[in-house]
């Protein structure tokens, strides 16, 4: 316990030491006086011979200390005192840093959750998906062949979208679900929370009436009851039995059908040999030791064999890592945002470095005094760095609060389609990132000022006796460099934001082809109810339309299978009359829409030529079809498509000829900025029974006079009166659908714009600060010049010229970097090139205005200087 005693007796030791030294000196002085020196001389001589008493005393004390620890504490105490003494400086610096660090932390936590964290499956980096062109589904025939023939996957499974009607409950509901083959859950490596997974034999028709519930569905529909296993559910009018419940954090599928709340076995039945109906997404796990490349080459081997056997069915399939499929689309956007916040932080650093530099000039004398008292250069650098690190830590603390709030806002504002955004949180990774960023920041803005101010020349600083020194050329250069780089970074951010703005304007000006205002849409389904057969289904929809049209406040109404933008997208191949049969896999195809008469009117889609689908186009009249302009132009270029005939292929043999009776304007189909693809509209009432049965639901489109949702309760009760088992889902308005479709670019624009605004503000504050500082330093000089006859404009020129030049250089460098970096964000842009000259010009203008304003105010102050005051200054 020796060290405790020592710790307690430390003060005693120190007083002993300093007394001892004082006694030593006085004894020496006495001796020297005794030898005939004057007292004054003796004092000087004694001090000279003794050396720096303070320093020696400190060295003596250090013997007893845990050196680094204690001087660190002393440094921190001192730093806190200095920071308290300059509250304005401290608050501004901490806020600036908090902005930079907070923004970085918030964006990084999104990057961490979305891009970096593994998917919630076992060894998720060994999971792959097989998709047509990497996006589209696969036919059952191909899937089963791959499953049988490959040697590279431990397991391969398929999933198919399913939206059954859940009935037998108070309010029938359409639910999101998936049919999955029995391999899926084992290959994901996730165990059910309750019950079991699916068995191989449940992939047979008739044995497939089991469901596994998600945790959420279990809680919502069964109150989390432990006895849920074995309970029945009515889906599409058939009885299913609950066999399992998945754990809370289990989600499947990760990139599409993400809202699935229950899973049932995938029984392909007589579809097993189908090579045309592409509806399956394939998941597989790589065997240990097999690389992605090996799997790809094996799959392409299998596919080229299949392609010979079944021409046109097995090309362009892509094996992708599952994670790539989930996050690949979002990665460029997130990286752009991360880059943007990095620049914000750099600008914040530059600003604080400015402030530190300006302060270090003021503190030159303090440093000189400390050096004179025996502080080594290393010691002073350490002290100054302690100050900057303290500032950063305070900034990081405030930044953390800012980040917590920022994450909250980000998640709330984030558009659909950013995967896993709900899991964004501040975890250990984020904290480590923040810590590293903070330390780097502290060193970044602290090191250079510390090095500079510790290198003071003792004599000069002390000799100046209170007058602020005129800064050396090196200080000026450093400051100039900081300012120029701040400008450069602001340019880069502004160019990014400017490009997003331009691209957003371009997106906003796209004509969707229909009039979205006052349009209510809802999905109606009667699958599984008494009126599920074709005749009564058609009658039901006919009655719904009629009654809805009769409602007060409803102007028009229509029905379509899949709503543009929001709905599904089915493709059908067809054969054109009089043309040679195309080679397999090259048949013409178009988006397949099925409508009731009145749809185009309700949506306000202009018929360019020909006629609308009419009530008279029924089962007993010749088949008709309306096509969009794109289809007409692609398949009958330079001719009139009206009157031409084609037949659907791929379903029934001998499908009837359909005559083109009308051509509509192109309408946005799926993606907002995607150019229109060929599209056909068939009358529902002329569909074959099989084709009608495929449509499990239809979408009702209602144009209202007033607020669209105001008629919803009426519509709902009308529909339920006609069929109490009908389900109504996806209630939406067309304007909302459009907002949703443009939500991602809007979100990026918002974020980039916010970052650019912060950057611009910081840069302006920085420039203002630098200018005010240099004006105040030069007050004396300005006074002399004015006393000698310089006019205000001369002074203005004098103080602004150099900084404006610097800003110009910075801006130019920024443009060069921005042009290079903007290429990285071209995938986020629409209708504007990454080197758009208008954007760059705009940015330069904005910066010039801000720069001028920030320079002008302090410069004006310089010209107002009264020569007499200035000459007496300080």
């Amino acid at each position: 316990m020796n060290w405790i005693k020592r710790l307690l007796g430390r003060r005693r030791l120190y007083t002993d030491l300093s007394q001892e030294i004082r006694e030593h000196l006085s004894e020496k002085i006495e001796d020297l006086v005794a030898s005939g020196m004057s007292r004054e001389e003796a004092t000087h001589a004694a001090r000279r011979e003794f050396g720096n008493a303070t320093l020696i005393e400190e060295r003596g004390r250090e013997v007893w200390q845990w050196l680094s620890m204690e001087s660190l504490i002393a440094d921190i105490r001192y730093a806190l005192r200095m920071l308290r003494k300059n509250p304005a400086f401290t608050v501004v610096a901490i806020l600036t840093l908090a902005l930079g660090i907070g923004a970085n932390t918030a964006i990084f936590s999104v990057v961490n959750a979305v891009l970096l964290r593994p998917l919630p499956y076992q060894d998720s980096d060994r999971l792959v998906v097989v998709l047509h062109y990497g996006v589209a589904p696969v036919s059952p025939g191909n899937f089963l062949d791959w499953q049988r023939q490959n040697h590279v996957f431990t397991a391969m499974g398929a999933a198919e979208y399913w939206t059954p009607n859940l009935t037998g409950i108070d309010e029938p509901e359409r639910v999101w679900a998936l049919h999955i083959s029995s391999d899926i859950l084992p290959l994901l490596g996730v165990q059910p929370l309750l019950g079991r997974m699916f068995l191989k034999e449940e992939e047979q028709k008739g044995r497939d009436h089991e469901v596994i519930l998600s945790y959420g569905a279990w809680q919502k529909r069964f109150g989390g009851s432990a006895g849920v296993i074995g309970r029945p559910m009515t889906l599409d009018g058939e009885r299913y039995v609950v066999v399992g419940v998945m754990p809370r954090d289990f989600k499947f599928a990760p990139f599409w059908a993400t809202k699935a709340e229950l899973w049932a076995p995938l029984a392909l039945g007589d579809r097993a040999a189908d090579r045309g109906g592409n509806s399956l997404r394939i998941f597989a796990r790589l065997k240990p030791g097999i690389t992605l490349e090996q799997a790809r080459s094996e799959m392409s081997g299998i596919n080229s064999r299949l392609e010979k056997e079944y021409p046109g069915t097995s090309r362009d399939y892509v094996v992708l890592p599952l994670k790539e499929r989930v996050v690949g689309d979002i990665r460029p956007a997130l990286l752009v945002l991360l880059g943007a916040v990095c620049f914000v932080l750099l600008i914040a650093c530059a600003n604080v470095a400015h402030m530190m530099l300006a302060r270090s000039a003021v503190r030159q004398r303090e440093v000189a005094v400390r050096t004179a008292l025996g502080a080594g250069r290393g010691r002073i650098i350490r002290q100054l760095l302690t100050e900057s690190l303290l500032l950063t830590l305070a900034g990081a603390g405030a930044g953390l609060l800012l980040a917590l709030w920022g994450i909250h806002v980000l998640v709330a504002l984030s558009p659909a389609g950013i995967p896993r955004v709900q899991t964004v949180s501040i975890d250990a990774n984020v904290l480590v990132f923040m810590f590293v960023v903070s330390v780097l920041t502290g060193l970044g803005f602290g090191l250079v000022p510390a090095l500079r101010s510790s290198a003071v020349s003792l004599n000069d600083s002390l000799k100046e006796g209170g007058r602020g020194s005129i800064e050396g050329a090196r200080g000026q250069r450093l400051r100039g460099l900081l300012m120029a780089s701040e400008f450069a970074m602001a340019v880069i951010l502004l160019v990014g934001a400017g490009l997003m703005i331009r691209s957003f304007i371009a997106l906003q000006s796209i004509d969707p082809g229909f009039d979205p205002d006052h349009v209510l849409t809802l999905v109606v389904s009667v699958t599984g109810s008494q009126s599920a057969d074709a005749t009564s289904k058609a009658a039901f929809y006919g009655q719904v339309l009629e009654q809805v049209r009769a409602l007060p406040g409803v102007q028009s109404a229509g029905v379509i299978n899949h709503l543009p933008l929001a709905g599904d997208l089915w493709d059908r191949t067809f054969a054109i009359e009089g043309r040679a049969a195309p080679r397999p896999g090259e048949a013409p195809d178009a988006i397949y829409r099925v409508v009731w008469p009145g749809y185009f009117h309700a949506m306000n889609i202009p018929i360019l030529r020909g006629r609308d689908i009419a009530r008279s186009d029924g089962m007993n009249s010749p088949g008709v079809v309306v096509v969009n302009d794109a289809l007409a132009r692609q398949f009958w270029p330079g001719q009139d498509a009206i009157g031409k005939r084609f037949a659907l292929t791929g379903s029934l043999p001998n499908a009837p000829w359909l005559t083109v009776v009308g051509i509509t304007k192109d309408v946005i189909e799926k993606d907002w900025a995607h150019p229109p693809d060929p599209e056909m509209y068939l009358p529902y009432l002329q569909l074959s029974e099989a084709d009608q049965a495929f449509l499990h639901y239809l979408t009702l489109v209602v144009r209202t006079a007033g607020e669209p949702t105001s008629v919803l309760p009426e519509i709902r009760s009308q529909i339920l009166r006609l069929n109490q088992d009908a389900t109504i889902s996806q209630v939406d308005t067309m304007p909302a659908v459009i907002r949703e479709a443009t939500a991602q670019p809007r979100f990026y624009l918002l974020l980039l714009g916010a970052f650019a605004a912060i950057a611009l503000t910081l840069a302006a504050v920085g420039i203002y600060g630098v200018m005010s500082y240099s004006v105040s330093r030069r007050t004396h000089e300005i006074g002399i010049r004015m006393a000698l006859g310089a006019k205000a404009p001369d002074v203005l020129k004098l103080v602004t010229r150099q900084d404006m030049l610097l800003a110009l250089w910075g801006a130019m460098a920024g443009i060069v970097f921005a042009l290079a970096l903007a290429r990285g964000m071209s995938s986020l842009l629409y209708g504007v090139h990454s080197d758009d000259p208008l954007t760059i010009l705009g940015v330069v203008l904005v910066l010039a205005i801000v720069g001028l304003a920030a320079t002008y105010i302090p410069a004006r102050r310089a010209t107002k200087v009264d020569p007499m005051v200035a000459l007496r200054y300080e």
């Binding site: 030593h24 720096n52 005393e57």
Partner: protein
């Protein structure tokens, strides 16, 4: 002996051959104190001053002997090398 006396002693007995920085004595003394090789005590000197005198502890004496013999051996080595060089 106290600090100032120690300095004077070194200067005197070495006939000013060994000049030491007076101040540097004190950190060295602190180190010895910490290692418990010396102990210190406030007292009154012969010139009637309040002084802090240092005395070797038994451990200090042992350590001193060891250091002295080390030093002597080194010195002897150096002397021999130099002697051979001359021959």
């Amino acid at each position: 002996m106290h600090g100032y006396a120690l300095v004077q002693h070194i200067k005197r007995t070495s006939d000013d051959l060994l000049q030491i920085d007076e101040g540097s004595l004190y950190p060295a003394l602190q180190r010895l104190l910490k290692e418990e090789l010396v102990e210190a005590e406030w007292g009154i000197s012969s010139t009637n001053r309040r002084v802090r005198t240092y005395r070797l502890t038994p451990a200090g004496i042992k350590h001193l002997n060891q250091e002295v013999s080390n030093f002597e051996r080194m010195l002897e080595g150096v002397t021999r090398v130099l002697a051979r060089g001359e021959a």
